[in-house]
Point group: C2
Chain length 522, copies 2
């Protein structure tokens, strides 16, 4: 092994998100992880306090500031002692600052040796962030990044005690992002970072962020851990996790606080835009918005930073809960209504069929809780696509029977299974294939009825109504392909969607070369 | 005045929700108010603790239990002393328990005099909850309720020191609900309660709940305070407030806790369905899900009740924040994705045009923050309907000019207003009417451009795309009605919706008897 490796163990998955454990040296961090950015010279909330309050085991800090302001001290005492944190400390390359302020003439090798010298756990080769630039410029940033990475890896050699991250640049140019990933393959990286999301996020181009992450994750494959640099507002955490980002750092908690901005799970508000503090964290429980407004600036900065951190970690816990119970998609449905641009990103994600195909391969076959569907976009979610695809492939009439019986009450009738079958046998002579109707999936064959998610799906009546004709047509295709000659549409009890059973019967009568009977037993 | 009145002062409004202050005797409570149900013989969290932790000034307690278990004590010491709460104490009538357990033969007059005797601040005549019953039964419950209310009001007489609430029953029969309201009108009530939501909520019939509240609120008119009995889960708070409920009690915090159920803002989870505690309240900050599971039952009951209360009060704070900033509808968009049945209720609300008309009359003309639109349902919100209606009525060509100029960049170009006009004057000879295009509203005339919400609306590109043809047609109707002979479609800078300006030009060229020019200045 050329240098130290991060070990990443996945425990639970949903869409492309996962709960996992990242091990670096002997230290562990649970993912998805929010990685707070620690300003080494001005810790508004000390890293040790963040660690304790939020059970946080990984932070990131800034090589450039360390180099400029604390060079000798950090070389001597190490980065952990200087920032006061004994978990995993990641360092960025300072590439962004080198570009911005340009005061330091640092070579990739200087930057690398400095990170090694200060004992960084996860170090970053001097990358050149692409940002939102024209293609020519983007190509240059990628070439320079790749050149720097190679120089770095040669300089640090096989005995390096850092885990080296592979910085993926290329921004909005898919082929450049792919080129980065391809170049890194085989170089022995165990930790990847995706750069340049910040300009996309500040411009609310969340849909572009989706496609950038999608390109990187698809090219990387589903396995290796992926870190998103500068993820900004916690309202993007669910979608970036769903797209396959395992870690994401952000300084927003402090940057927003410095401007008197209060983070909400669905946005931000200036202090003068708050009626009260609609939060239960320790800060909001012990002060009022009026007190906050009148407080001395430094103390307000600290308290707002703490509150903002709290929102970030709480959102992270919601994401983990969602993955674990198999409802990450439900969380996306909710969070995508935090801002129209986020909704557009959610739609873009669902229309990225290659991405969803990958998600289908990663999403568990069965889940702790059922699916909630809302509208046509919900039908594009991985489990629904997969369930639809299974039905397409399933041979519904293996025994070449001539009679199909469609009933409406599988899920509630399972407990009276025998009664149901007796009832049907009383109505239908001879052998038959049995299906359920009245779901968004189309007709569900008997043998698939208890397979997740067919009967674990909750659908609003409005969605069934808006799909009525499509569902009828699909049923007709299924039955006609299987060559049934007799079809019974049986309505047991009340029609959950009044008129649906009758409508289905009428449609099948028109569409099929078969005898179709509607039966409502009394 | 026949008996004591509640005073209700409205401070901020949005949709049919409002932030207000309810004054009863000398005591005040801010609305919308979550009114926790206090079990007088088993306070899992003492009322005094709820008051202090959550700044709660109003609770409700159960007459039936007080009567059965603490009759003499509560007559002697008063209800405030017995439950240990000095804010507003409301008592229910016990009508539900009388029906359920039937052990007490209490007349309406007994029930009323008991509530007076114990010093209830807001008392409830012995009502007969309708529930989910057939019409014949529903009629009986309403008749009995009305009879009881009359008997009560005669018995207590004009010197009563209670505020008497008017219990509205009738359930799903709109005419019965209306009959109740009509009967109470002129009887001097200052506080109304709407009964029977619980069976609707436990059956997830939130859409029926919407129509029941809608009927009551429309018949009552927008002014008087309305209390919803038994509002259940906090995820319904936003919609019931938006429909005009000012107060709502619930015992769910304790009922759920007793079954080891943990309330989330978007649902509930049994303790074994939790990965961790995704919440920042004092309980969740000081224990873990594992500790909770292993804890002694009574202590767990208490901590879960506290957590559940916290979610309720936090949701209430979010609702108040949303009303205050004018984003109650945005909150509904988010919360309606908590459950498909809630989404269906949200759609039902938007399709209730009489309700929305009332909401249009109550929603402020201008707001602290702009509108977020998501999909076609967002277009049914009150501000959008109103803004569309204004445009329909607005005479777009008062001066009978022959030339219309359509530009795409109002909102961003306001700061360079003069430059913009100079630019247009350089392109167009003579006088013209000026409009903005590229919004969901259609063409916005110059003089309306700064009127809320035309340029304070954020729309995802996907929505504009899906409405493209409708927007084009609307523009054609506007221009043709106003009789313009020359139309300039000017595209300044980049088209926010690539191809939109060209598409508009093509459509207008086809649809209008006018000369249409597309101009893209360099």
């Amino acid at each position: 092994m050329p240098w130290m490796k991060a070990v990443f163990e996945v425990r639970h998955k949903d869409i492309l998100g996962r709960i996992g454990v990242l091990t670096v040296g002997g230290k562990k961090a649970e993912t998805p992880a929010f990685v707070p950015v620690i300003n080494p010279v001005n810790q508004v909330v000390p890293a040790s306090e963040i660690a304790e309050m939020f059970n946080c085991n990984i932070v990131i800090t800034n090589s450039y500031i360390l180099f400029r302001r604390l060079r000798d001290e950090v070389r001597e005492r190490g980065v952990h002692a200087v920032i006061g944190f004994d978990g995993i400390v990641m360092t960025d390359s300072g590439g962004y600052q080198v570009l911005q302020y340009g005061e330091v003439e640092a070579s990739p090798v200087d930057v690398a040796l400095f990170q090694e010298a200060i004992g960084s756990d996860i170090a970053t080769p001097l990358d050149r962030p692409t940002g939102l630039v024209r293609r020519g410029q983007a190509v240059k940033t990628v070439e320079e990044t790749l050149k720097n990475v190679k120089a770095t890896m040669e300089a640090v050699g096989p005995s390096s005690r850092c885990v080296w991250s592979a910085p993926i640049q290329g921004g909005l140019y898919p082929d450049l992002v792919e080129k980065c990933v391809d170049e890194y393959r085989g170089m022995g990286f165990s930790y990847y970072c995706l750069g340049s999301p910040t300009p996309l996020m500040t411009a609310y181009k969340y849909d572009k962020l989706v496609s950038m992450i999608s390109v990187a994750r698809r090219r990387l494959g589903p396995v290796p851990p992926l870190h998103l640099f500068g993820a900004g507002h916690p309202m993007v955490f669910p979608i970036v996790v769903a797209l396959g980002c395992d870690l994401f750092d952000s300084a927003s908690y402090a940057l927003f606080a410095a401007e008197d901005r209060y983070i909400l799970p669905y946005g931000t508000a200036r202090l003068d835009q708050l009626y009260s503090l609609p939060c239960s964290c320790s800060v909001c429980g012990s002060t009022t918005v009026k007190e906050l407004r009148q407080m001395e600036k430094r103390e307000r900065f600290r308290l707002l930073s703490l509150h903002n951190l709290n929102v970030c970690f709480q959102e992270l816990n919601q994401v983990r809960q969602a993955i674990w119970e198999g409802r990450l998609f439900e969380l996306l449905e909710r969070r995508s209504r935090a801002h129209p641009a986020l909704y557009q990103a959610f739609q873009a994600m669902l229309e990225d069929t290659q991405l969803i195909d990958l998600a289908v391969s990663q999403t568990p076959l069965s889940k702790r809780r059922g699916l909630f569907l809302y509208d046509r976009y919900s039908l594009l979610r991985p489990e629904v696509r997969r369930a639809m695809a299974w039905l397409e492939k399933f041979e519904v009439n293996k025994e070449r029977l001539e009679t199909a019986v469609l009933v409406n009450v599988w899920s509630t009738a399972v407990k009276e299974h025998t009664t149901l079958l007796e009832k049907i046998n009383g109505l239908v002579n001879g052998r038959y294939e049995l299906f359920t109707y009245g779901t968004v999936y189309g007709l569900i064959p008997y043998s698939l009825n208890n397979v997740f998610p067919y009967s674990q799906t909750t659908t609003p009546e409005t969605l069934i109504r808006s799909l009525e004709n499509e569902i009828y047509e699909k049923a007709a295709r299924t039955l006609s392909k299987a060559g049934f000659k007799h079809v019974y549409v049986i309505l047991l009890g009340r029609d959950a969607y009044p008129g649906f059973a009758k409508g289905l019967t009428n449609h099948l009568t028109q569409a099929l070369q078969a005898e179709v009977k509607f039966v409502k037993p009394t």
